[in-house]
Assembly symmetry: C2
Homo-oligomer: 336 residues x 2
Amino acid sequence: MELHEIYQEMRDDMLLIEKELYQAIERSNSSLAEPALHLLKAGGKRLRPLFVLLSGCLGNYRLEHLKLVAVPLELIHMATLVHDDIIDDADLRRGQPTVRAKWDNQIALYTGDFILAQALQYISQLKEARVHQILSQALVQMGLGEIYQLRDFFNVNQHLRQYLQRIKRKTALLISVSCQLGGQVSQLPAHAVQKLYLFGYYAGMAFQITDDLLDLIGDRKTTGKPHGSDVRQGNITLPLIYALNQSESRSQVLPLIRQIQEITSSSPSRAESAHQLDHLTRRLIQIVKEAGGIQYAETLANRYLIKAKNALSSFPPSRERERLIHVADAIARRQY
Amino acid sequence: MELHEIYQEMRDDMLLIEKELYQAIERSNSSLAEPALHLLKAGGKRLRPLFVLLSGCLGNYRLEHLKLVAVPLELIHMATLVHDDIIDDADLRRGQPTVRAKWDNQIALYTGDFILAQALQYISQLKEARVHQILSQALVQMGLGEIYQLRDFFNVNQHLRQYLQRIKRKTALLISVSCQLGGQVSQLPAHAVQKLYLFGYYAGMAFQITDDLLDLIGDRKTTGKPHGSDVRQGNITLPLIYALNQSESRSQVLPLIRQIQEITSSSPSRAESAHQLDHLTRRLIQIVKEAGGIQYAETLANRYLIKAKNALSSFPPSRERERLIHVADAIARRQY
């Protein structure tokens, strides 16, 4: 089973979700919703809705109910992207100019607020109080994650635990909630919903570790950004933390990160410094590779992937269960 | 009845709300919640909780239920303040440095997101789906209001209607929802809840018009900011719109606003330009006064106040009803 086959099988229902996403944004006033629409049109894998629907397939699948969580979860994801792009000074996302680049930071700030409000209005159609509780708790944790991320920018003394906590809040949480709520509204029993939550959590962790690997060694044509964009923004990811934890590589990695920090915090856009940054990150990635940081991250992503699969072992074997596992596999093993 | 007497009468319950506000912020992790706590400690009138409780007094008053809307409504208000201060480049609020000034814009962005998430988690304790719908609709409208405000910055051709629509979304809506939800959770019948909504809407309109007047002619010791701070940020308020609509004063007002815009958009912090800005705004306010803009705004605020009182006329006379009217009176007639 390939990822595109799964999308194909879910095609009609995913199209309906897509239509609903547009309606949720356009409902208010199309001229003001322009930046939000721009973001929507830039596309994306719509992973969260996909996980909601695929999880729903394990229970009493009712699209009319599932869409009430799938649409707001994708909107929440979009809202966080717009705000994150402000923090990261990011100009491109999915090959398109970001909202802050095409308009400005102010518009981007309010666009994020606006999309989040639309998400809440959409989900308010759901009567189950439990769903609101799960979602709002996730939002609080995601909010904390954002603040933690700022605190850990260019922190070369962070522990692996801090990284894992951060990517949990940044990515794994919303994916786990997608699976959890997909099961919840499909009337699965509590223990099965809990297993789906765990599956989503592990799959999300594997996904983000892979994402962080792609930033270092991925195909630049696919990622659409220069290698080491994360560290240039101060985001110290798993392979770097691994290299920082070995005394031999630490002494080489440390000055490189400091130099990158100096350049990015002083003159972020000069052509000369761009050249210098490319050189420094290339050197950094080389050392991280030699220290075994890439391999370590790959191993950890794999361990999470296995845990994800195991979380579903109590479900009877079925095409529905296999689809979930395949999606986790596909997003955690993306080519680089 | 004076405002402080009303606060005195509600003292115990308002203190409980205050305690809950702190708990909602501190619950997560005190070191990360620091910027949010800073904002909370800066104080404020806690108008929205006050309106919730006073509205609740007209029905079956149950503090345990009322706090579930009073606390999140104040948190939502706080979250919008933090984001607005980013847009306005504001350094002071209530005489205290703003979050963006004490920390930075990035922290402020995520602090706003974080406080909003806490609000949603708090309100998720309420089971009534209707409350969630009312609140999320208000959030969408407020979000639109923020975007409209950006669009109308330094727009000298805006109609009075645009201004009214803007302050409705910026201020009146959350106050009207405070009164509405206070009535709703106190089991008042639908028509009474609707009257409370109207009361809050009119009171909120009068409140914001008065706020905009204070910006022009208020006691600077009380407001803690220079006269004409609004127009320096591009916010064209009612008295200015009135003066712009008269052909004689328009020709004088127009070049002054353009000069203010030029200075603020080029070199916002130089001492020389600060002096020049003071001079220009003094001149501008003088012309607006002579054109009758101040008087017009006062008259309109008064008209809204009368409408607010009338909205409560179907409630039997009572101390509870009078308290609501007095609060509206007090906030719309603040000294300047």
